[in-house]
């Protein structure tokens, strides 16, 4: 986790020795590249943490910074500048990859605010029965039974059209639920962005719950898709 450091403490530029703000990728005085600043992904783009982002503007800034930071620009530079270009560009790329994707961005911001978020590692993201959202318990139970039946039928080389139709129907239903979660998430973005400090804790809690629900639903959908074979 990157953490916001106290920006009031100036550090000296390695090249011109003039003190500068900790967040900067380039010395404001001599324009030389600086070691990776200990800042969050939003600060890399000079932005306040926000959930609704102007994506074309984000891309334009990503391209502008890439042109200045990329290791291709430092192929014949000093060894330390090469190293910093590599580290700074990795930071820039990691930041862009996280912020351009709405879900990664939301998770990142929530972590930045200290929330506990479920792990996204693919090795661990099989459906965990202990985390079934309460309102879906019955349907999920039913669905899992059908998935088992379907897999068994597949193994025997049988084609159960009725089961297939029922699974397809369930798939559509869960897809619909997923869309509702996404809509709810966007509403919480606005609440967090525009609601002021007072509104934020409530919005954060809701988003953590929505992300959990979303992760659960999308894993379930993946299992259905795998079983249906499409």
């Amino acid at each position: 986790m990157l953490k916001v450091l106290d920006s009031a403490v100036p550090i000296a530029c390695w090249s011109c020795s003039i003190g500068h703000n900790d967040f900067t990728l380039f010395c404001p005085h001599c324009s030389k590249i600086q070691p990776p600043p200990g800042c969050d992904y939003f600060s890399v783009f000079g932005m306040e943490p926000r959930l609704s982002l102007d994506l074309p503007a984000l891309e334009a800034e990503f391209h502008r910074l890439s042109r200045k930071l990329h290791p291709d620009r430092f192929a014949r530079a000093l060894e330390n500048e090469k190293q910093w270009s590599l580290a700074d560009t990795a930071l820039l790329n990691d930041a862009y990859r996280t912020l351009k994707d709405p879900l990664r961005r939301t998770e990142y911001l929530l972590k930045l605010e200290g929330a506990e978020i479920g792990e996204e590692h693919s090795g661990k993201n099989r459906v965990d029965p202990s985390r079934v959202p309460a309102d879906l318990l019955e349907e999920v139970f039913e669905l899992n039974m059908q998935l088992e039946e379907m897999r068994a039928a597949r193994k025997m080389g049988e084609e159960d059209l009725e089961l297939q139709a029922s699974l397809t129907q369930a798939k559509q239903k869960f897809q619909g639920l997923l869309e509702i979660v996404d809509k709810d998430l966007r509403a919480e973005w606005t609440a967090w962005d525009d609601g002021g400090q007072a509104a934020r804790p409530a919005a954060q809690n809701k988003m953590v719950a929505l992300l959990d629900r979303r992760r659960y639903l999308s894993n379930l959908l993946r299992d259905v898709n795998e079983t249906l074979g499409d």
């Binding site: 890439s66 620009r73 790329n93 661990k124």
Partner: protein, 655 residues
Amino acid sequence: MAEGRVVGIDLGTTNSLVAYMENDTPVVIPGADGSNLVPSVVALDPIPAPIPAGDGRPTVTVGNSARKALIQTPERVIYSVKRLMGRSLEEVQSELKLFPFHLAADPKAGPPDPNEVPRIQLGELRFTAPEISAYILRQLKRNAERFFSAPVTQAVITVPAYFNDAQRQATKDAGRMAGLEVLRLVNEPTAAALAYGLDRGKEGTIAVYDLGGGTFDISILKLREGIFEVQSTNGDTHLGGDDIDNLLMAIALNEIHAEHGVDLRLHPGAVQAVRKAAIEAKILLSTEMMARFDIELPNGDRYQREIPREVFELLIEPVLARTAGPCKQALADAGIIPEQIDEVVLVGGSTRIPAVRLLVDELFHLRPRGKKPHIELNPDEVVALGAAVQADILSGASKSTEEMLLLDVTPLSLGIEALGGTVARIIQRNSTVPASATEHFTTGVDGQTNVAIHVVQGERELAADCRSLARFDLKGIPPMSAGLPRIEVKFLIDADGILHVTAREQRSGLAAQIEVKPTYGLTDQQVESMILDSFDNAEADFAKRLLIEARNEAETILAAVERAPRSPAWAQLTSDEQTAITLASDYLKKAEQSENPAAIREATLILDHATRRFAELMMDAAVSSALRGKTMDSAGEELDEAVTAPHAMAPAEFK
């Protein structure tokens, strides 16, 4: 320029090229024989060859001249070594069933260490794949130095986009052995896009479909204001034109066996001759509706067969179909549909096949949209031209490329083996590089002072199904209660697609000692010991070396011409041709006395040109004598009989 030129190199399975930026245009640098393509073939010189003073390293021949040895002394020649780069013993063993080469077995050492870099037996010596590639790179370096009359020490080298970490590292090692500082590894399809994108104003989304001798890549890029941003890439590092050659060869060899009772598989030289015929048929079928095999057999019979294009297309359909899956996956990963692809660029010699073009048309819905794939640049040269563009970008010295920037991605996900052998993915495939990820580890037992980490690359769920990149120990963790240490490990994939790892124990602030041992690959010391000609680059020696090389080349060709009248092929030349050769050889003998390497080279080139038809006649004679089994005394070189296709190696295209 103080630091010399940076050249762009396409180190191909079948052919290799070196190019540079001449003002605003990338240009391929021809070799001493005037040809742009250097066949990726390395032949160990016969033992009595004079060993040059110095380190006593074996001498080799690279390129066109090495191809001739392929038929005469196949046990001393290696081609398509790119297929072996960065591969483990286990991987190579399965591949070698289809190879005419053999793994070196050390009788003293007992069973081979699976983590050792495999070595290939060539004549009486053994070589790793990077060493062989280094010989090819050194040849290209010399071609460039001859061309510039100045030392060349820095290069950009291209690799298939779908190459993994070990294959990339092996390529970089080869560069170092050849005396080249590899400023960047560039993915081949991306390089091709750079070559096409040079005329700015090109904007939009393009797909590069690259089917070469041994590898297939598909990349999808977004072009905007000089920035080439790769969206996704996919491919197969073992799919290419040589798979097609194999199918044709298998047919010929099986039919010859069945109809004429001759098993050519027992004669490596004869197999090479059939391969030559298969490659010629394949090439012909791109323009003609029919090709023919007409091969004279050892028992005097002729094997004759017609191959209509329809039959050929049916035959290769399964090979071509294997490119469809990666294309669809790349589109899905980029989050687009075929209609959103504005342009398609075709790269690699195999894209000359009409059936390939048809498939690409279907995959990207081109015809209904009134579009055609781009084939304006020579598909054999476009990657090298793009490498030259990237070399120019890196030297930062030119107006024409200052607005250009390449943002490439890592082709494979990076993960760590988690409990139960599953993979915890830490960097997803298609992430823009450089990319990094930070992970935290702790201990499971009180007082534990080291933690083992296994890093893998690939998309499968189980670590055992992915490519193992490195196993390492975080050592020197201060003894604490289990779960208390907090070790931060930073994984960074650099702009070449190569992984770097650093670690730190956070509670004590101690930097944990880590030793990142690549699962397969050469150590730094090993690479160091394999560096060719360490004195190659000394400025003082350079001019002298150019002159010596020019004279050696002249001597070689003059000696061949001296022997020419004794060859039966000589009589087949017209008297005009014979006179031209005599004149050119007299001219070279005079030029050789001068101290001017450029003049010697030019005279050599003239003589080479004059003898071209003679060389072809000699080549044909060598092929047919190999087919009659006359030059073959290598019964020990039998191929694995269980294999139907003799070997899946890329063509060393004969002319």
